[in-house]
């Protein structure tokens, strides 16, 4: 069977409503899981760096388990496994007319929990690469830990980890396809559904791949812009570079 160009172009430029809904769901879940995962990741990073041995241990075990098991397994475990064991059942929630299916909630949660483990390590490396002199100067001025963290350490750490965070979101966009196994109608599942009726697998998956490529490319362009902006900023700090390095002396 030859490649059906007419069908391909039609799917690419006039996608069905179901597919557009899937596209929206893909982006929505990726953004929600990335934000939730980042917040959680920061908490775990702080736990990993805490003075308390218990907190460090807990954070370490979390990262060990999450990074050591497949995301697909985690998704099924959280949605289907927990429900089967009568531990946690995700029910649909309706807020001002919009329904959030239980599977979408579980999907976002699973993606976020997984992301948190990776983000924790990224935050930790970012915070670790802020020069110790910055901590000392903040302390010597009398900043309590939270103030020091928010105003001195994080602004510098975020510049350092901008690129790895960008990569994480790229991966996140693509990982949303895994949530199709628990019945979330994101782009992949919608494509599969259409495919089961038409069997135009080659054309449909080409379209699906192109949509993902478009999403990741848009994100890539945004990151390139953000990086360029930061690199040109007057602070002289360049993302990815050690902000703590002794600034080079410029004759006045």
């Amino acid at each position: 069977m030859a490649f059906d160009w007419t069908y391909f172009w039609a799917q690419l430029f006039t996608p069905s409503t179901a597919f557009l809904d899937g596209l929206f769901l893909t982006v929505f879940m990726a953004v929600a899981a990335q934000i939730l995962g980042s917040v959680l990741g920061l908490v775990i990073a702080l736990g990993k760096m805490a003075r308390s041995r218990v907190l460090r241990g807990l954070a370490g075990v979390y990262i060990w388990i999450v990074r050591g098991t497949p995301l697909l397994v985690q998704i099924v475990f959280i949605y289907t496994g927990l429900a089967a064991a009568n531990i946690l059942r995700f029910n649909d929630i309706t807020l001002s007319g919009i329904t959030f299916p239980g599977s979408v909630q579980a999907g976002i949660l699973a993606l976020a929990l997984n992301e948190a483990a990776y983000m924790a390590e990224i935050f930790r490396s970012g915070i670790g690469s802020v020069d110790s002199g910055q901590f000392e100067a903040a302390k010597a001025l009398g900043m309590p830990p939270a103030t020091m963290f928010r105003h001195i350490v994080m602004p510098q750490a975020l510049r350092i980890i901008l690129l790895p965070i960008g990569n994480q979101f790229n991966i996140m966009l693509k990982n949303t396809t895994l949530v199709s196994v628990i019945g979330v109608s994101e782009m992949l599942l919608v494509t599969e559904t259409i495919n089961s009726a038409t069997f135009r697998t080659f054309e449909l998956y080409s379209v699906l791949a192109l949509y993902f490529l478009a999403l990741t490319s848009l994100w890539h362009l945004f990151m390139a812009w953000a990086e360029h902006r930061l690199a040109r900023s007057k602070t002289g700090l360049v993302p990815g570079q050690d902000a703590g390095a002794t600034p080079k002396e410029v004759a006045a």
């Binding site: 020069d131 002199g133 910055q134 000392e136 100067a137 903040a138 302390k139 010597a140 001025l141 009398g142 900043m143 309590p144 830990p145 103030t147 105003h151 001195i152 602004p155 510098q156 510049r159 007057k234 602070t235 002289g236 700090l237 902000a243 002794t246 600034p247 080079k248 002396e249 410029v250 004759a251 006045a252």
Partner: protein
């Protein structure tokens, strides 16, 4: 004879302070005090504990024995019954606001402008309104000779300029005393003078200062008292003329011979 601007009040007082780094005893039963308005210069060979002593004053280093007091308030620890227990970070942070510190490597905040570097602590920690803090910061910048650098970022300043901003940043908190940890050691020689000049003005204004330095000429001019350390102990102290011209301890003589020639 002490100059009249020095009061009898002991602003900073360390008694019996001891500290180990692993098996090394870096501070060995040190007694040390600074009176209000006094300029004390700490000298000693590297590894003698002078920087560690300085860092104990604002609790950047913990101590394992003895007490550190600023304005008669115990620093870093609280009395619980008759026992000393580590104080909470938040309380220690409040205590540190009374003592400014200037570091060897400046440690300006690279993501903030010069003006923001100076205003961030008073606005966040003392609740000074932003406009007022900026006004004060500009006055401080004029005082350290950098009136036109307010909107620059640290990376665009020379080492000497960065260190002068760091002094202004510490002064913005209106501390009762200032600590200087080898403030000119990381500078190119031609920039040492501008920083020492600012410190000299500060001393003349009556600021209480503790200075760790290798600049013996400066120490001699500015110090009210010179304290010599070796192997974690205070081995000699006195007026600069006495310590530099007629050192009593052979280790002081050896140190002075090494740095002055």
């Amino acid at each position: 004879m002490k100059p009249p601007r020095i009061s009898d009040e002991r602003l900073i007082e360390l008694t019996g302070v001891a500290k180990w780094f692993g098996p090394n005893k870096v501070l060995d039963d040190v007694d040390f005090h600074v009176r209000r308005g006094e300029v004390v210069v700490l000298i000693g060979p590297s590894g003698s504990g002078k920087t560690t002593l300085l860092r104990c004053i604002n609790h950047l280093e913990t101590v394992q024995a003895g007490q550190v007091r600023v304005r008669d308030e115990l620093i870093g620890y609280r009395m619980r019954g008759s026992k000393l227990v580590a104080d909470r970070e938040r309380n220690i942070a409040v205590q540190r606001r009374e003592v400014g510190m200037v570091f060897q490597r400046f440690n300006l905040f690279p993501h903030l402008t010069v003006l923001e570097n100076i205003t961030i602590a008073p606005t966040l920690l003392r609740g000074v309104p932003k406009a007022r803090a900026e006004e004060d910061a500009r006055a401080l910048l004029a005082r350290v000779g950098l009136p036109d650098k307010a909107l620059s970022y640290p990376v665009h300043l020379s080492g000497g300029q960065q260190q002068r901003v760091a002094i202004a940043r510490a002064l913005a908190m209106q501390p009762a005393a200032m600590l200087f940890d080898e403030p000119t050691s990381a500078l190119d020689p031609e920039m040492v003078g501008e920083v020492l000049g600012v410190m000299r003005d500060l001393a003349a204004s009556g600021m209480t200062m503790v200075i760790v330095t290798h600049e013996m000429g400066f120490a001699r001019q500015v110090a009210d008292r010179v304290v010599v350390m070796a192997q974690g102990r205070v081995i000699e102290e006195g007026a600069p003329e006495q310590v530099f011209s007629a050192p009593r301890d052979p280790k002081t003589r050896a140190l002075l011979a090494a740095v002055l020639h």
